[in-house]
Amino acid sequence: MGLLSLIFGRKEKKPVEVKPPQPVATPKPVASVKQESHKEERPVSNKITLGHVHMSGCIGCCVSIADTYGGLFTLLDNYADLVYSLTLVDVRHIPKMDVALVEGSVCLQDELSIEEIKETRERATVVVALGGCSAYGNITRFSRGGQFNQPQHESYVPISKLIDVDVYIPGCAPNPEVIRNVAVMAYLLLKGNDAQKKLATAYLAPLMALAKDGSRIESDSEACGCDIMLKVINQGLCMGCGTCAASCPVFAISMEYGKPNIDREMCIKCGACYSSCPRSFFSFDVCGDYENILGAITAAMNPGGN
């Protein structure tokens, strides 16, 4: 079912019993009571739990989640229960959850943020850095403080500087389609059969590798725009496809004589260019199977077949 169905009054086939998130009254310890009678009455019992944790960001990532349009309903109806979200769920403290989507960077002068990001790590099985700020610091990297109404707030770091992160979704704002793909894959990873787990692992592997790299304390991967220079061109790998230029949200990359030229003054450190470059990572198994994978994702998002 899902919270949004309730909010928007969408009709469910089965009437759904809404229980507050309180401990359910313990059933009487009578040995003769059969186990089945206590089964939950949710239409989909193996959903994953999902939280959206907001740190220092502009809310653009939140808009991106909403921008999955009908997809958000499908995700919440069939695959995930939203257990924590600034705008949609009335829960004050970070609960236990399977997947935490973290938006925004951490302000080192804001104690609450530091506490919350640590709690997120402790309570979530999978932590996803959603968007440029969370993954790379993005525009918040340029903060020098002095702004109302917290002039002392001046140092912002990507969440991986304080906790280990499992998956990166780069980009400013992150693309709704990537969020959808990662959500479906995270579901398959946690709840799928062996073949689905294998596919999900292969799909998520490069996004996990980006996170692993970012989580190294000495990592140099915050450079982003420079990553194209350092890890692709300087490595003799660029073949001039132009994907990096197309993916830059601020048009900091132009193609000069077939190779990217990065205007570093303009780069906001969102990480989109490097992660979309086919020479940052490329899996023949995953990308070569694009027809089946895109088909599977479409099918997952349209379970009714429309």
């Binding site: 921008d67 979704i169 780069p170 980009g171 400013c172 704002a173 992150p174 693309n175 709704p176 389609e177 990537v178 793909n181 799909y203 592997a205 490069p206 996004l207 590798a209 890890k231 490595q235 003799g236 790998l237 660029c238 073949m239 001039g240 496809c241 132009g242 994907t243 230029a245 197309a246 993916s247 830059c248 949200p249 193609m255 004589y257 077939g258 190779k259 969102c270 990480g271 989109a272 260019c273 992660s275 979309s276 470059c277 086919p278 020479r279 940052s280 990572f281 490329f282 899996s283 023949f284 995953v286 990308c287 070569g288 694009y290 027809e291 994978i293 895109l294």
Partner: protein, 288 residues
């Protein structure tokens, strides 16, 4: 490694339009396919390597008319970053159904962008037809200039066509002169990124095509995806292509397999070499 990739059919073909064949590189497959798809409403426009601001320097362009597609015919052996305008094709030109032509690496970039569309909101779901072209290697603009002007002794302004075939680099001038140099001269000018490339026949195109395997003026065509298959069948039925069985032409698929195997094995060795280039250190391998 699968040298020729997955495919449903492979044929030798050429366009039935003499207008298209007049200055297309081989059988005019790409140009004919895009014009047919445009006229049938399968695509609203196509990303091609259009004329640039310097002679023989291609510029990625969103073509929305048959005239523009025609103007981009032929091979430019230097980089045309076609993926660079993919966002523009949807956002600025407002296309809902985009065609795109590209080398194997550009097809890889496209498929990666469809699965991980970072920084491309609702763009890559608009790709309606991806035409891959075979590719052994590419050159930077300066390299191509060096090859044509210094080695072939042809001014770029008077160059009519360049071609790679039969172990040679060919330069044809507007006035009918032909200059050719052995490919071993051109090797050192190749784009370095091409040396780690593990695809010859554009395995990830919906349809992919090249000259190798078919007689002069004809093209070898692999129909690969379900989408490509649907479109190809319609086009053949409409009579825009003349088609022959690939095993009825010379030199045929064996040569394609041979060249693909050569390229891929050589480049796999290069990847191994790169991994051990230094002392206990090596260069990055993009293939995970």
């Amino acid at each position: 490694m699968d040298m020729l990739g997955k495919y449903k059919t492979c044929v030798a073909a050429r366009s039935t339009s003499s207008e298209i064949l007049k200055s297309s590189q081989d059988g005019g497959i790409v140009t004919q396919m895009f014009i047919y798809a445009l006229e049938e409403g399968i695509i609203d426009g196509a990303i091609v390597a259009g004329p640039g601001d310097e002679p023989w320097k291609p510029k990625p362009m969103v073509a929305t008319t048959p005239e523009e597609i025609l103007a981009a015919r032929g091979t430019r052996y230097n980089i045309s970053p076609n993926m660079a305008v993919i966002k523009e094709s949807v956002r600025k030109y407002g296309l809902d159904k985009v065609g795109i032509v590209g080398t194997p690496c550009q097809m890889q970039a496209l498929r990666k962008a469809q699965l991980y569309p970072v920084g491309m909101r609702y763009v890559t779901d608009k790709i309606a037809l991806a035409m891959g072209i075979f590719c052994m290697e590419n050159f930077s603009y300066q390299s191509m200039k060096q090859i044509v002007e210094d080695h072939c002794n042809v001014d770029l302004h008077s160059l009519k066509k360049t071609d790679i075939g039969k172990g040679k680099y060919w330069a044809y001038t507007n006035r009918g002169a032909v200059s050719q140099i052995p490919l071993k001269v051109t090797h050192k000018y190749e784009q370095p990124g091409c040396h780690v490339c593990l695809d010859y026949v554009a395995n990830m195109g919906d349809i992919s095509t090249g000259s190798v395997g078919s007689p002069d003026g004809w093209s070898t065509v692999f129909v690969r995806s379900t989408n490509g298959d649907n479109i190809w069948k319609k086009a053949v039925e409409a009579g825009v292509f003349e088609v022959k069985a690939i095993d009825s032409v010379k030199p045929g698929l064996d040569l394609v397999t041979k060249l693909a195997t050569e390229k891929i094995t050589k480049n796999q060795k290069e990847l191994e070499h790169r991994a051990k280039m230094g002392v206990n250190k090596g260069l990055r391998n993009p293939y995970i």
